[in-house]
Symmetry: D2
Subunit: 393 residues, 4 copies
């Protein structure tokens, strides 16, 4: 049971971490949106703040005055509930509100939240909502990092930036994980009430049995060295290794290597948060799409694990360096029900066209990972810290 006192502390720790991630940014870095997937950092800072204002303060603090009428329009990602507006616009076109304005918004909401958390009797529902808000902001923290990396890594000056985590981590050899054939229990096992255990998302709850065949998951992630062998063997030029959609993606986008890799005078370099560096052969490969992960695995005569295999093997695995692509589509667990209201829009509606990633990455906030966590992206996405673990066929 987490005391209210602790919740305030948690609130501040999470809120400050969002700002710590941005500490090294120039004002200009907060504003741009190079591609649709990447949101401007100031949008993340505003959107996470809008969540607290809209779902916690407005309905629960009598007489609460919202910070600015237009901000709910600017920082709302739940577009469907927004009515018609005079102007349609994209996040990356918005020079206003300014970065200073967004930080003022954060300060205002933080003060209101602090007062509210100190004085309110939190019902279990409200407690759960606040935990959801904290986890929501943590999700945006990882996106903040990957979006900032994308913005700087696509700038011709390739600037370096300080971040509150260590991007580079070496991988110690780990033994393979062997699964015996049989029945396994999968999914987050929810105790009586949401407050009685750790936080979980609606998509991972519903503990249920599955039957798995005998399988061996590789104890180590695929390294840059191993992946480079695929690149150098002409892997991106031979359609036989690729899913049909994957090959179309390679062709349409002229893909030649993982994101952030550059071939310069015959050598391979990669953009990192420390700037351009030679590709580190021993590090686990990063920034690959599901298509690339699948093609690599086929090329080696192996395959990707399913998310069920991954979760069953998790206790044997040394995970956390890369989000690991599985070959499971993101679909509901048995008994999944979409919650009512705006929060109910959270996860269920994305259960189409996406693949599950399991584990966590170097950029995942502390306390935001667990073996039942289901991350998901479209199979062509690769600006997250994604990697590959193979299964012997």
């Amino acid at each position: 049971m987490i005391a209210e006192q602790t919740l305030t502390e948690q609130y501040y720790r999470v809120r400050l971490h969002s700002e710590a991630i941005c500490r090294g940014l120039e004002t200009e870095d907060y504003v741009v949106q190079p591609v649709a997937d990447v949101s401007p950092p100031k949008w993340h800072l505003g959107h996470t703040t809008w969540f607290w204002e809209t779902f916690v303060l407005k309905p629960n603090v009598p007489g609460y005055r919202i910070f600015h009428d237009d901000f709910s329009y600017v920082f709302n990602s739940y577009y469907e509930t927004v009515g018609k507006r005079v102007l349609r616009t994209d996040r990356g076109n918005l020079s206003r509100p300014t970065v200073a304005g967004v930080y003022a918004y954060r300060a205002y909401v933080d003060e209101q939240m602090s007062r509210f958390l100190d004085t309110a009797e939190l019902s279990p529902d409200l407690h759960a909502l606040i935990l959801l808000g904290l986890n929501h902001e943590q999700q945006h923290q990882e996106l903040l990092i990957t979006d900032i990396k994308y913005i700087l890594g696509h700038n011709p000056l390739l600037p370096a930036i300080e971040m509150p985590f260590q991007e580079h981590q070496s991988q110690l050899p780990s033994p393979d994980a062997v699964l015996a054939e049989g029945i396994y229990t999968i999914g987050y096992h929810s105790p009586d009430s949401q407050t009685g255990g750790s936080f979980y998302f609606d998509n991972e709850v519903g503990s249920h049995k599955v039957y798995l065949n005998k399988t061996t998951l590789n104890g180590n992630l695929v390294t840059n060295e191993a992946y480079l062998a695929f690149v150098e063997s002409g892997g991106y030029q031979n359609f036989r290794h690729w899913l049909s959609d994957g090959w179309a993606w390679v062709k349409a986008n002229d893909i030649q290597a993982p994101l952030y890799w550059h071939r310069i005078d015959g050598a391979w370099w990669q953009y990192t948060l420390d700037g351009l560096r030679p590709v580190d052969l021993n590090a686990p490969v990063c920034h690959v799409s599901h298509y690339e992960a699948d093609a690599y695995a086929r090329w080696t005569g192996q395959r990707l694990p399913t998310e069920l295999e991954w979760e069953a093997a998790a206790p044997q695995l040394n995970w956390g360096a890369r989000w690991e692509w599985t070959n499971s589509a993101y679909l509901p667990y048995p008994g999944f029900v979409t919650a009512e209201g705006a929060v109910g829009e959270y996860n269920g509606k994305f259960m189409s066209g996406q693949m599950v990633l399991r584990g966590a990455s170097v950029a995942t906030p502390e306390g935001h990972s667990r073996a039942t966590y289901r991350n998901f992206f479209q199979p062509d996405k690769r600006w997250q810290y994604t990697g590959i673990r193979v299964v012997k066929n």
Copy 2:
């Protein structure tokens, strides 16, 4: 064990059925391609013939003379193995070869095949290849029907056409199918050799155990009447019922009802092979996408079955009128291995971005359906004879 004699008979029966489907066409109907998904009928007739010439006759008949040098280019759907050509083109732009030319091609290949089947000692591999060719042509027969329906159903004259099957079928009430919780065996159980049993595709083989929860599948398909209630309730105007991708599809394409439905002076009509008819309220709804099937199910507070549930319940179901959308992504069974060579390209490379349909439809050729059959299409496709069966949550 199927005797060689029988194989020749099977060959003729399948080949003639392709031509029977086209008997009502005007020459012009063979040529057009209104959208990328829909191939011109003459292409189907040529492509299935090209299969026999390329994979059976050419490698196995000494001194075989191919019918026309350019036909392998025109009728090849396996584009990746084709080298650079002077001209790139689309199927729907090709006025030549003419329809008469395609029928001459068929006649030539049929005669060669007949001679070959009569005289050759067929190895088990060759026997299996011929069965694959027959099933390949049967798959194209259903596409021939749905493509012809699309071509005529998008012509402002809305012409009727005779077909060798009954499109309209009434549905008798059937009891629900109840699955108890426990372990089920899924997938085609392959006997010792391919020739020792009935035909199967590589994607359905590999019998394996799965663990299923207690579930009840509706004994009847969703009717037009039930679906109309969804339409009239504003189902296509409310994002809450839809997957995120589905809602984007509805908006981008201004979808208002199933394909072939037209609202005329306040009443609903549907284009059928007999021309424009009032919507038959008792018939199972047809020509819906996975997005629509899913939205309908949500609207009723139910869901679509998984393909595993469907297969486990199949013995209790009265299936065969509509391909039934499941909520399973098209992914490999445990132990799936892609075969070598051009035939190996058959199914595996499409295991991304598609949803599984189970059962069969009124347009499926006789002998081409079984409970383990895995059909698959992208979730927005709806020109096939697709329908909806719901599961109580």
Copy 3:
């Protein structure tokens, strides 16, 4: 003054020429539309017939029964006046009405027209309208030829076809045309009434004075040999020769040579109505866009003539083999007024974004050319019989 008798004769001559152009087609060739600019031949045959039915027969023959209710929808190119329809469609998707149906439509309308022309007292306005209809059909005759060439020339079988004209014509050397500085009169000089002279379009009428500088137009069109030198010199690889829009067009479409040219084993071939032939070095270059004409002229240090220079020089020129790109935008002459009604939509609304071509081509119907004729196309179009004449700067 043209007698009514003669008008009937003219009518039949023009109508039969449209059908003569199509004599060598297979049924399938009438149906396809490989790109938006190219209409299916059966559409041209139907649309020109629809013109007679809609503008002449319907308003002037009491009790006239139209051939088919839906044909005015299918064969109407004046889309703006058409109301909402159940089905939107493209010309190239329409397998029905069949080719036989279109010829039946022509026969019906021809019979009605014949009866009408034989018996009616034609007012001057009606006389003028019939002349417009004949010239309208003649314009479509040249499009029929170029569209058929496009359809066959983009078919991998590259079939030859008989046509009622000689595509290949050699060019005899002609002297340059010198214009002295001064005032010239440009435009069709309309006599008192439309029936009092030859036919003219609204865009060429309005004889007016212009002041021209001293200029010398080359007496000969640019040959394939001369143009080949531009190609071989890397003309398509060097942006300096190109207009900004032209260079973007070259890049976006990977343009390397005139339309229908193919480099095969190091030699240049061109598709002609007789099939694939080596490029004829002495013939005037054909099927080039305005961008290419302009780039070629720049590369030689010369320029294209304006349409005013061309018309002033026309008496000195040997023209008629190629439509000659000028460097004049298609804009109204002084005093141009758009006519009322549907016929008024004829030319004026296209006076934006197009360049003027002068002269005529080998495919222009007899009697359909004059020195004041203003043809026009967007600068990237090149499926017409277009060529280049340069002016010394």
Copy 4:
């Protein structure tokens, strides 16, 4: 004859004006690019500076050290001469160089230029180049203003901004300008050397004779009140008023009124540099495309002037409030020759697909307008201060 001393002064005056335009901006406003036509303000500031460094300092100052290696890539608009680069990017994605970095670049180049102008003996060519640079920067000053207006006017907060000019100007009634039929001389008359007169662009030089018909140009620009009548009469809903391309533009972009007009609760408002204001009925209409100008003129039974008529009438006109759309395509004057080198790319290559605008606007820098000036934009563009003057047909 302008003394070197004066040139330094001119240089400073122009350079400071660019910065004065930006004085009211927030840092974030410098960065965004809402549409391709609109460049980020910091790009304009950097690009104009790059011009001085690249064309004046680098070739003429021995030992000149360029400010930053990558800036020539980032701020170069002459893309064709740039070789292959590791990263392709768009102007609006670039958060770096920062705004402070761009101002430091300006300061560095200004100091170098000041030293150079104080000490160098300027050849006539160099003198002409510096005049070109000043006029180039003045062109970007007007773009800076219109781009800033676009950025703020498409932000949902609709912020106001101070600018060093008065956007709003009332229009005093002026008499019509009557042109008699006859010969007029058009174009900038260049004296012996470029330094001997005022500056001119290559596209306006080449004084030549034209013959014009009798014409009367309206003495006043079309007002908002008059244009509003067109809007309210359903002008945007009736294809008959529009050029074919214009109507397609209206439909594809759902155009309903001039840019920056908003209908709010039944009243018309417009975004101005002072924020949202009711439409000023007496002011000349602004921010209309050529398509809209042409449609309005047709609706009144009048037409737009040609650029030749405009220039001939200029002495009688009260011009300078709006860039006035003419119905002349942007094409070369007789004798136009593209200059050699990078500067030669200046104007000639844009002579395709654009329409000429004459006059100047409230946003045009002082000293940057003359009666022979030829401005040009594609006919759909309307973010400049464009207006309408009609001619009686």
